[in-house]
């Protein structure tokens, strides 16, 4: 290879490397700083991120400013109304086009039932009251105040809204499943195969709801606390399904006058895995 050609190739190679690297570096300089201080993405630089950072320093204090949606689930009320658990699950899964793949391995679920031992594995199950073991606990995304999944996501495809809801951007998700490893509640599902597909002539999504997008394979999904419905002043689908049983109470945890705050003040509730510092926004009356 003659000298000129080698030189040319070297320069060409270097400029190619620089060309690939430069936009990223620039992007980082311009956006990175802003986003490093607020832990949620999509240009959403509301106070929440700073609050969260403060929360870390101040020994796990909960965020007091701004909205933070949360929910209380009264397990006994569910138990006294047969079929209510399934009604909630169906209401959610039908609304959000959650596919029923039909096997455990590829399963996608946003809200589902678990026995006490599995919803609260870190609690002792020794000589627990027998009723407890027959109860069904609805479990879903906890919309943690300090969500490990958001911390783990390399693209901000999962991020925390200003109202505390942990959201998913299905179009940005690269499907690395780091968030699934990070979630201590197993709340996240991956589309191992095309959810729009079918098996034996039966589509995975029985009836598509045109108001919410179906997903493509290779992205992660989970409960979104019905963020879209909340914007319209509606309650989440599962809460709506419980009707006036009060089995689920939903509202702003940071508003002392909200119904959910009043219930939390007056009743003993537990959260799932509170020791991990994720600060779940879903509470249980058992």
């Amino acid at each position: 290879m003659d000298n000129k050609r080698r030189k040319f190739l070297k320069i060409a190679g270097l400029s190619a490397v620089a060309g690939i690297g430069a936009p990223a570096a620039l992007n980082m300089l311009m956006k990175g700083n802003v986003q490093a201080s607020s832990s949620h993405g999509h240009g959403d630089d509301h106070g929440g991120g700073h609050e969260e950072a403060k929360g870390h320093g101040a020994h796990q204090k909960e965020v007091k400013l701004g909205k933070r949606y949360g929910m209380v689930i009264d397990v006994h009320k569910f138990n006294h109304t047969p079929g209510l658990v399934q009604k909630c699950i169906d209401a959610c899964h039908d609304t959000f086009n959650v596919p029923d793949i039909g096997n455990k391995k590829d399963e996608v679920k946003w809200i589902w039932e678990e026995p006490f031992a599995h919803a609260f594995p870190e609690h002792s199950h020794y000589k627990k009251n027998t009723e407890l073991h027959h109860l069904s606990f609805l479990v879903t995304c906890n919309h943690c105040d300090s969500p490990p999944c958001v911390r783990a996501c390399p693209t901000q495809a999962t991020f925390k809204n200003e109202d505390g809801i942990v959201m998913m951007d299905f179009h940005r998700c690269i499907g690395c499943r780091f968030c699934m490893a990070a979630c201590p509640y197993g709340s996240r599902s991956f589309n191992w195969r095309d959810p729009r597909g079918m098996k034996d002539g039966k589509p995975f999504i029985k009836k598509v709801n045109p108001e919410f997008p179906t997903r493509m394979r290779g992205v992660v999904e989970k409960c979104n606390f019905c963020a879209g419905r909340l914007k319209k002043g509606l309650l989440p689908k599962c809460v709506e399904a419980t009707g006036d049983t009060k089995a689920m109470v939903f509202g702003d945890l940071n508003d002392p006058n909200s119904e959910v705050s009043k219930v939390l003040k007056s009743r003993f509730t537990i959260q799932r895995k509170p020791a991990l510092g994720t600060k779940p926004s879903v509470f249980y009356i058992i």
Binding site: T155, A182, R217, G218
Partner: protein
């Protein structure tokens, strides 16, 4: 220099042909996976990472281990490593390439991989892993190629390359530390959540990498006139022994902390890996990794004995076997047990076992063969240049 890879005997070409055919098989299976989705693999909702990520984790270690050559040779001017260092650097290039391919194979939406760059997210460890891995690849490609090129031309390496060499030393440590951080910063994954994960990763890497390198050097010696020298090999054996001992010491510390504290979360995965874990509800015992893990321990101990004893390690046949045992022992430990075990039990305390699917195994083999293809080409070039340079001088 690259043209040297185009000259070889029948054995060389049949080896290259074998690699290419395995790569073709892997590519074919990847097309299947790409069209069907990752459901084609054995991964599931509960074990959401499988062979791809576990191989990635293991290979980051092999890549990092090049520092065990670069550091003594460049920083301490340890001349005996003069002929072997380039082989270590090229092994690092092949390993990092495999790492990147395994990550791509694992993505649900590989076409969006650049989102990691387009939406940089400093609070995600994966973002940093992308930076350190690509940086390390770049450093090794530049340093290795420039060093070899100057040997080809019979000159000294240019001065500007030395800062990159020195940078590559802490950088090597960083790639495996950051990779450990992927795991040990996740709340609720007790098996991974240990501050000793990064040091343990490094220790096992510094044993597994040099073990593979000795195997490669011995193969090279058999098939070419290039000899890295017994002194270099013996020094590497010392490195393997100490790093291997450290690794087993660290594993012992994990066992102590788990079983002495008696905290269930710390014990479950260890139980699952070494003794089998019983399901609370059904009493069924799950243990599909247990035989592997036990074999890993036995291989590691035998290897350390063979390497530690002067009589056995001076026999090149036994040395070859001992290095193979060490490599496979640590491959099982990190390339299977560490990643797969961490998902058992699931966050909701279910036991779901993972078995890779056939296409998944072929894709994995395909990536390994691509790595070895890169390695073969680079070694062919390096060895041709080195033997020629020595003939001239």
């Amino acid at each position: 220099m690259l043209e040297k890879a185009l000259q070889g005997n029948a054995k060389y070409w049949s080896w290259v042909g074998f690699l290419l055919s395995m790569m073709g098989m892997g590519a074919l299976c990847y097309v299947l996976q790409f069209n069907y989705g990752l459901g084609l693999t054995g991964m599931s909702r509960d074990v959401s990472w499988g062979l791809y990520i576990s191989q990635f984790t293991f290979l980051v270690g092999v890549a990092a281990s090049a520092v065990m050559l670069v550091l003594p040779y460049y920083l301490h001017n340890y001349k005996e490593f003069g002929r072997i260092t380039i082989l270590g650097e090229f092994l690092a290039i092949a390993s990092v390439s495999m790492c990147l391919m395994f990550i791509m194979a694992d993505l649900g939406q590989p076409m969006r991989a650049l989102n990691v760059v387009l939406h940089p997210t400093p609070h995600s460890i994966l973002f940093w892993d992308m930076i350190v891995l690509n940086g390390y690849l770049f450093l090794n490609v530049v340093v290795g190629w420039v060093a070899l090129n100057s040997e080809y031309k019979g000159t000294h390496p240019p001065k500007w390359v030395y800062p990159l060499v020195y940078l590559s030393i802490p950088w090597a440590v960083s790639i495996h530390t950051v990779t450990a951080f992927l795991y040990c910063g996740l709340p609720g994954r007790h098996f991974w959540m240990t501050a000793i994960l990064a040091p343990r990763f490094l220790a096992s890497a510094f044993a597994a990498g040099p073990a593979l390198l000795i195997i490669l050097v011995m193969i090279v010696r058999k098939f070419s006139s290039f000899d890295a020298g017994d002194k270099a090999i013996n020094k590497l054996v010392t490195v393997i022994i100490y790093a291997g001992l450290m690794n087993f010491f660290f594993v012992g510390l994990e066992l102590f902390v788990g079983y002495y504290s008696n905290i269930p979360g710390h014990i479950h995965t260890l139980d699952y890996l070494f003794f089998g874990l019983a399901d609370h509800d059904t009493g069924v015992i799950y243990n599909n990794l247990m035989p592997w893990m036990r074999v890993s321990v036995i291989m590691g101990v035998i290897s350390l004995c063979l390497l530690g004893c002067k009589k056995t390690r001076n026999n090149s046949g036994i040395l070859f076997v001992a290095c193979g045992l060490m490599f496979f022992s640590l491959w099982i430990d990190k390339g299977l047990g560490l990643v797969l075990g961490g998902f058992v039990p699931s966050p909701l305390d279910y036991i779901v076992e993972y078995v890779p699917s056939i296409p998944e195994i072929f894709i994995t083999l395909g990536v390994w063969c691509t790595g070895f293809f890169i390695l073969t080409i680079l070694y062919k070039v390096a060895i041709s240049v080195k033997t020629e340079a020595e003939r001239v001088s």
